[in-house]
């Protein structure tokens, strides 16, 4: 707010809404820091995954003579109770987290958007029925139900359990999104451009997919980012309880719970759980920060400054400082 007051109108440049969003996001230092750290983490995780696949590295390879080695150049994060290199195990755990987070978020976005759009578009009885259903799903005790479903299918093989966890997380977390999309579509439905599509005889399906959903997409992306962070957090909680993907595939929650079982291991071999915990924290933090940044950027009410304006502001501040310095010097001289 205060920034724009200082600027004269002549520096104002008219740019498209998408550019506006990008400008706002770029100007947000915290969000950019999150974006960069997320990018770096993703790069390292994908790189490690490629390395594991290319060299056929066996994550379950046990070497007792190397057990509980401190972090060193050879083993960046040290080794665990079975002498396995933790650096690669932590990064492999990250691959699981990203997969679960991304796929379950996509699932919940697809469910949430299609259900919310249907309810908002048709209204009336269909709306009431769908929203009652949404209310019921959202009043399930989420973590308890997720734990129970996961415990029922305890004996499945690790790869299948990965899909199961994705399914559980995606299926139980679409309700918030559905409610938001419905609200948006209810208000959009009354606007002229939708009335026009109706007058042109465009089918309901095309009205929804080509005209309504693109208009709510920005909000969906914002809340999708936050869902993504939430899904990773929930997966790590489940795997901490031993209810996510099981051995030999490492997950962050599992790595932490393995060393948290016993006070001696926890205190003396701190690297076995500090590194996965930090990785988890950094990943979730950077996604949350990106989500918050996007939310601010998408908000049409939030102010933004273009590059030219930013440079001018900087110059102005510099001049102000110099003036103050001169004034101080003058005072001192007197």
């Amino acid at each position: 707010m205060s920034n724009n007051d200082k600027l004269s109108k002549e520096h104002e440049k008219i740019i498209s809404p998408t550019r506006q969003i990008m400008e706002k996001f770029k100007h947000n230092k915290l969000a950019m820091a999150g974006f960069i750290s997320f990018g770096l983490l993703l790069l390292v995780i994908v790189g490690a995954q490629a390395y594991i696949h290319l060299t056929n590295y066996d994550l379950a390879n046990v070497d007792i003579s190397q057990k509980y080695m401190k972090p060193s150049m050879q083993h960046l994060f040290g080794t665990d109770a079975q002498g396995r290199d933790l650096f690669l195990r932590v990064l492999a755990g990250g691959w699981i987290s990203i997969q679960v987070g991304l796929l379950s978020t996509i699932l919940s976005i697809v469910l949430g958007v299609s259900i919310g759009a249907t309810a908002g578009f048709f209204g009336g009885k269909i709306d009431t029925l769908i929203m009652r259903g949404t209310e019921i799903v959202s009043s399930f005790p989420f973590l308890a139900i997720a734990m129970t479903i996961s415990a029922i299918f305890m004996d499945l093989d690790a790869q299948l359990r990965l899909y199961l966890i994705i399914f559980i997380l995606g299926f139980l977390r679409w309700t918030g999104l559905a409610r938001m999309v419905r609200g948006q579509i209810l208000s959009l439905r009354e606007q002229e451009f939708i009335v026009a599509t109706r007058a042109l005889g465009i089918s309901s399906f095309n009205q929804i997919t080509k005209h309504l959903i693109p208009n709510v997409l920005t909000y969906v992306i914002v809340s999708g980012t936050l869902t993504f962070a939430g899904a990773i957090l929930t997966e790590s909680s489940l795997s901490y309880l031993g209810l996510s993907v099981t051995e030999p595939i490492p997950t962050w929650g599992r790595l932490i719970s393995l060393s948290a079982k016993n006070a001696i291991v926890m205190t003396n071999y701190w690297w076995t759980w500090i590194f996965p915990g930090l990785a988890l924290f950094i990943l979730i933090m950077s996604i949350n920060v990106i989500g918050e940044g996007l939310r601010d950027a998408v908000d049409p009410k939030s102010q933004y400054v273009t590059k030219e304006q930013r440079i001018r502001l900087k110059e102005k501040r510099k001049r102000e400082k110099e003036r103050q310095k001169r004034r101080k010097l003058a005072k001192a001289a007197m």
Binding site: L30, F140, P141, A144, I145, L233, S237, L241, F281, M285
Partner: protein
């Protein structure tokens, strides 16, 4: 004369209370389909648990000396005694009857009827969660208000960043960091448990770590909610009016703004309490706190169907009560909603 007066008083009392009762009854009726569907989901999940429930119920010692035929016959009779020979739908209704009469079944893992111990577990969960929630709320209110009033200042930005950290830090990692610091390095707090086996440490010492984890993990989001609610309220016209009247800033913020900001906060309390108990599944496991969360973890390990269904029911009932609380709370606090809903 006196009698008539009293009757009149009673009648007015009845007239004021009755709409509320009607409203609550209406909401309860509204919740009925939710109750039915959740109960079906819980019952189905329990039925789907792997392993034979009869074999889990039988004490291996009683069948140890039997021949194979005797054992099979024994299992058959047990199946009949426990009602597992009946079709699933009948069993569902029998389960309902048991739940309504307060008979929650038998715990295989603890070898006791569930009714005997469930109360103390529920109490333990409530103690640690409610204490944590109240402390978190008391800390979050002043910080949230201050950061809304000083929106976009350095204070607000620091609070925002710190609460982002709080939201992103998984509660189990936070718990382990606290344990490492206070129990392993400084050695001033116990690792886990609820009572000292030697009877040296006072009981409250055991509350400190679990309660702090609950406080820290809910503090961040609470501050953000209160801040956002306050920011919305501070934009309102009546805040400008009260400032224009010359009221002091303190009165404007606490009497006029905060009171109205509390309305959205009620929703949060409603959704918070089930989430709090859900989150404490992990906290209770880390600190070996004998509450519902720990019970649930044990139930998975031993495939203890009775305990599992009871715990799930507890969580479901908690969620339903939270929904009811939100509805009724809104109607009580917000006169606009009150006028519309309570007639």
């Amino acid at each position: 004369m006196e009698n008539e007066k009293q009757q009149g008083k009673l009648r007015t009392l009845f007239d004021t209370v009755f709409p509320y009762i009607k409203y609550i009854g209406n909401r309860l009726l509204h919740l009925l389909p939710v109750v039915i569907i959740i109960s079906i989901v819980i019952f189905t999940l329990i039925q789907l648990m792997p392993g034979d429930p009869i074999l889990a119920m039988i004490n291996p010692e009683t069948t140890a000396n039997m021949t194979e035929e005797q054992r099979l016959a024994y299992i058959e009779t047990m199946r009949k005694v426990l009602g597992y020979d009946k079709p699933v739908i009948v069993r569902y209704f029998l389960w309902w009857r048991d739940v309504l009469t307060g008979n929650f079944g038998y715990s295989v893992a603890l070898n006791k009827p569930i009714n005997e111990f469930i109360g103390s577990y529920i109490m333990n969960s409530f103690k640690v969660n409610i204490v944590g929630f109240i402390i978190a709320f008391l800390i979050a209110i002043p910080i949230g208000i201050k950061s809304a009033v000083r929106k976009n200042t350095r204070y607000d930005k620091i609070v925002t960043v710190v609460s982002m950290v709080g939201i992103s830090l998984p509660s189990f990692f936070m718990a382990l960091l606290l344990v490492l610091l206070f129990s392993a390095v400084l050695r001033i707090l116990p690792f886990s448990g609820m009572v000292d086996p030697r009877g040296v440490r006072p009981e409250y010492v055991y509350y400190i770590l679990p309660v702090s984890v609950i406080v820290l993990s809910s503090l961040a989001s609470l501050i953000r909610y209160i801040r956002n609610a306050m920011i919305e309220v501070l934009k309102a016209d009546y805040i400008r009016t009260s400032r224009a009247k010359g009221l002091s800033e303190k009165v404007v913020i606490y009497r006029h703004a905060f009171k109205n900001a509390l309305i959205p906060v009620i929703t949060i309390i409603g959704f918070w309490i089930p989430a709090l108990f859900g989150g404490s599944i992990i906290v209770e496991k880390i600190f070996a706190w004998p509450g519902m969360g720990l019970l649930m973890n044990q139930a998975y390990q031993f495939k203890d169907r009775g305990v599992l269904s009871t715990v799930l029911l507890f969580f479901a009932v908690l969620t339903l009560f939270a929904n009811l609380f939100v509805d009724v709370g809104y109607a009580l606090v917000d006169p606009r909603i009150k006028a519309r809903r309570i007639k």
